[in-house]
Symmetry: C2
Subunit: 314 residues, 2 copies
Amino acid sequence: MNRPAPAPTEDRRPALTERRPSALAEDGPSPLGGHLDGHRPSPVVEDRPLTLVDGHAHAWSPVSARARFRAGLAGPTAGVSAGHTQVNLISVPADWAYEMLLFCQRNPKPCPVLDVTDAGSWTTVLAEGADLRTDLPRYRVWEHGELVDEPTDARAYWREDLVSFLIGCSFTFEWALAGAGVPIRHVEQGRNVPMYVTNRQCRPAGRLHGPMVVSMRPVPPVHLAAAIRESGLLPAVHGSPVHCGDPSGLGIDDLGRPDFGDPVDAEPDDIPVFWACGVTPQAAVMASRPPFALTHAPGQMFLTDARDEQYRVA
Amino acid sequence: MNRPAPAPTEDRRPALTERRPSALAEDGPSPLGGHLDGHRPSPVVEDRPLTLVDGHAHAWSPVSARARFRAGLAGPTAGVSAGHTQVNLISVPADWAYEMLLFCQRNPKPCPVLDVTDAGSWTTVLAEGADLRTDLPRYRVWEHGELVDEPTDARAYWREDLVSFLIGCSFTFEWALAGAGVPIRHVEQGRNVPMYVTNRQCRPAGRLHGPMVVSMRPVPPVHLAAAIRESGLLPAVHGSPVHCGDPSGLGIDDLGRPDFGDPVDAEPDDIPVFWACGVTPQAAVMASRPPFALTHAPGQMFLTDARDEQYRVA
């Protein structure tokens, strides 16, 4: 499932070869720790975008997409199941659930909560018949803030005390942007969206704290107004951008070296546009080190049955 | 502070005289119980709208408004402190806080949470220097789901384990509606907005359940699109309407007999437009009977320093 290494350019990071989690633990920096140390975090596994795996992925129904993921297919889900809402997953033990829900309420741009399960339940009102333990392309398993595994099936790690939070994903509003004529460069280029840890701290909640993570899309100036307007009408999937232009305004040194996902090629006049990102709870897990957490792998989202239109506010 | 009884018409309920809470407990139905029994709930205290008390109430700064309320002024706050965000208050013991926050997440139209305090704290990031125990016009005190008092100062009832939820109020978007030319009839008529308990059940959360409450504004057909659009752009203060037209669609028998607030006179062509209302948590308190809760009195809101524009999504 590795993505072929792209032709090297100054702006591109070579694709990593697949590594076992144990290899990461032995010789690699931890994802956030590496970043804070001046290194970049390393994904354990790099999957090909599903729109490259199957040119018809945009037409998969959410039920069909989930069945494929349950069967083991993995990869970034940008462009999959047109018009259906994608969500981030963060599952924490019940004694961390109030703080996680409060963290989300206090940081609604990165963490718009679309559903919360009862403890131990792997079902959600957003997708009838789905199993949150198996129906995502790939998971990340965290122990005391350290990434310990990236399985495609999380049943071996499931706990009866897990409360799962489903958080809106910006892949959802890409259909609205595309409909308004905004080019989605990372989809055009067959890559995962680039994501960056910023220097903006979230408002903490109890034991949970951490920096805001953003996704970035290069937008031509002529399309900037539409990109802001169309995403703004979908606050449940992060809404309008949190920043446009100079990445140093968010403490990002090099757009060519994202903390998660792939670098994307921009046209000369493009403006980098930054949206709050649902990987933010993972950054909070890394910084706050709860004993256990289960999340999606960045860019590899849960496909719900909800339609984007259900979340459009006007 | 009683509102003078309006000239009786078929559509109007005579204003009630002020009654002591004990009188209500002795001879009146409880607010929700009465409704469910086929009676209408009775407010304990009826205050005059503050725009009638002071014709310049729209120009009060939030700081000034809170100081007046702290000094004892009471009354509905529609039209007070133009352009500033008003919020509902619901305070519950800490062991009910997760369920209340989850109830709000699961019912985002009636319960958009704008801030949550730490247990025992009476301060909020939304209003520097404010005291949630004193700075609302009037409170309601609930024990086991029964209304026991309506003080203008809640310090005698304060508990160290109270977690306070501040929930967006539709009075906030009335400025946007007025700016778009929509007449706000209850403000024009110097009355509190009418509110109704509906037959729509909220999605429960643990021990918390109850019906959705709505506010109603009669809107001329020519202004309906603007009313829907302008409120929709402010989802943090209930967003777009949940229903328009025939009140029986929400199980409301008689618009002239609201469950909270005052009846409002409509013009012949007006369409009744219903927005989800932040009194919904009070209906949940009545139905779910937590041992203790402290809320605002319906229509008598907390004035924050936040500007409506901060919550406009596009």
